[in-house]
Amino acid sequence: MIFLKLILTNLRRHRIRSLISIAGIAFSVAAMLTVVTILQGAIGMFSGILSSDSEIIVFERNVSDLFFSNVPAAAVEQISSWPMVLHADPVLFGIVSSADHPIITCFGVTAADARIRKATWVEGDRRTFAQHTDDVVLGERAAEYLAAALGSHVQIGHATLHVVGILKTANGFEDGGVFMPLNSAQSFFHKEGSSSVVTIKLRNKDDAPGFKQMVHAKFPNLIGLEDAEFNRSYSQFKILKATAWAVGGCGLLLGGLGVANTMIMSVFTRIREIAILRVNGFSNLQIATMIFGESAVVSVFGALVGLAIGTCFLFMLKEVPALHGYIDVTIQPLVLLIVVVLALLTGIAGALYPAVYAMRIRAVEALRFE
């Protein structure tokens, strides 16, 4: 109890300094949580699109981004005919824009696609999809921010399209996106006769290795990956994840420097007090524990405040119209744990030099200072 009080005493003594350090860690944690959660959410949603009612995704080998992938219609046709395949759905991805919304994800799909079949049609009838080349179906959020209703016309890119349905899906990207018939999308994006990916549903999941081998044998420039395999290996996901953690890490590093500064000041201003503790039998370990304890308190408080700020910030971002459909405020427990542990480690690292300095204080020298 007294040991704990010794730890807290100095924080109470310099309240403003302690609060600034806590704020430093808090904003770093909030930044890390926000960036990582947004990107993880985006990745999760994107991979959710790809794995919708399918186990395998086929796309062009060695492309850096699926938007640049081209799978020929002939390949789709041939793959669909393989006995192990229950259905193969070609999807063409594109980015379109409207007056106030520079980025809208567009999905070129067939009427048989699970995204159309399994979605909840809020307005319209799925049987009307793909009957005309200028038809478009909007995700619920997209309809909201485009202020479009069933039967209205919306300007998307260079085309004016007729809204034949509004659907609701669990996926934020899809909910904020627009669905065009595959042929229309191919024409819109000048990619006639090709799709970005083909999502494959197998009759038997155990056939997955055989299917991938067949893709490799028949179409050497295509690759088939199981969903989990794709999520692990897709370079864009890897880059996004690394960027998120790097940005968050930089924030935390700055917070750590704040803690280090506080702890150095903390040790320098009580050299005599530490000397007295030494005279009373405190060991190096006990002195170090006191210093690390102080920084741990700052880090833990900072992390808690940061988590609260980050969560509030994410909810606020979710409500920004331009970001509709792109932010999933589901904070993964693992991310939470990593952020808190990193904050704690940052605090400990920040206290390393001050602790070593405190351990080296010689009572006999410190007591000479009056």
Partner: protein, 233 residues
């Protein structure tokens, strides 16, 4: 000049210095020049002398806070050196009282006194019992929960005395313990010091300028220019 200060009282020697030399600034400032000293169990020894004559340095060597350049200091017949467990010495064998009370201002009297027991890992109940005993003897029982800022100078110094005695050390090293107190507070603290030393069998080595107080100790030693001598009475 007599440079030795051997105890004339019979008893077990608990503190001994043999030909101790100490200097600072790589030998430029010689503070102690061949000190020989002995104190027996339960003895009160006063070290008198002008400022800078080496009294505090000698007390620091006795408590293991510093090591001599030459010669040796022994506590309970065990030499103080780098190989010795200095933590054990500070936790269980010696207690320090300084001119400035050196208490932690944000803690209460009770918490300040318990610091040595926390360092030594003494269980809370035993520590509380010992504190109760010492607080009663020093007249601080009613002030245990008070913060240091609320205490008078005399009370602070009595608190420092309690803290020094918490782990029942055999040697109490007091560096000008009444130096910052007025006459009446000084008398109270010094009376307490002698009383506790007598009843607990503690050996007291006290540096002081106050010859009146020093005269009440069992022995009075003069220090001058890094040397020690027992004055003719």
């Amino acid at each position: 000049m007599n440079t030795t200060a051997q105890s004339s009282v019979r008893g077990r020697v608990v503190l001994r210095a043999e030909n101790v030399w100490k200097s600072y600034d790589e030998g430029a400032i010689a503070v102690l020049k061949g000190i020989d000293f002995e104190a027996v169990e339960g003895q009160a020894v006063a070290l008198c002398g002008p400022s800078g004559c080496g009294k505090s340095t000698l007390l620091h060597l006795f408590g293991g806070l510093d090591l001599p350049d030459r010669g040796q200091v022994s506590v309970n017949e065990i030499e103080i050196n780098r190989q010795r467990n200095l933590l054990r010495l500070l936790r269980h064998e010696v207690g320090f009282v300084f001119q400035l009370h050196n208490l932690i201002p944000d803690l209460t009297l009770e918490e300040n006194c318990l610091i040595p027991t926390v360092a030594a890992g003494i269980d809370h109940r035993t520590a509380q019992a010992r504190l109760g005993q010492l607080a009663e003897r020093t007249g601080l029982s009613h002030r245990l929960g008070h913060r240091i800022q609320k205490l008078s100078g005399g009370e602070r110094q009595r608190t420092a005395l309690c803290r020094a005695l918490m782990n029942r050390p055999k040697i109490l090293l007091a560096d000008e313990p009444t130096g910052s107190l007025d006459e009446s507070a000084s008398a109270v603290v010094f009376d307490l010091l002698l009383d506790i030393v007598a009843t607990e069998g503690v050996t007291l080595v006290m540096a002081t300028h106050d010859r009146g107080l020093a005269a009440r100790c069992d022995r009075l030693l003069e220090m001058h220019d890094g040397r020690i001598r027992e004055p003719e009475i």
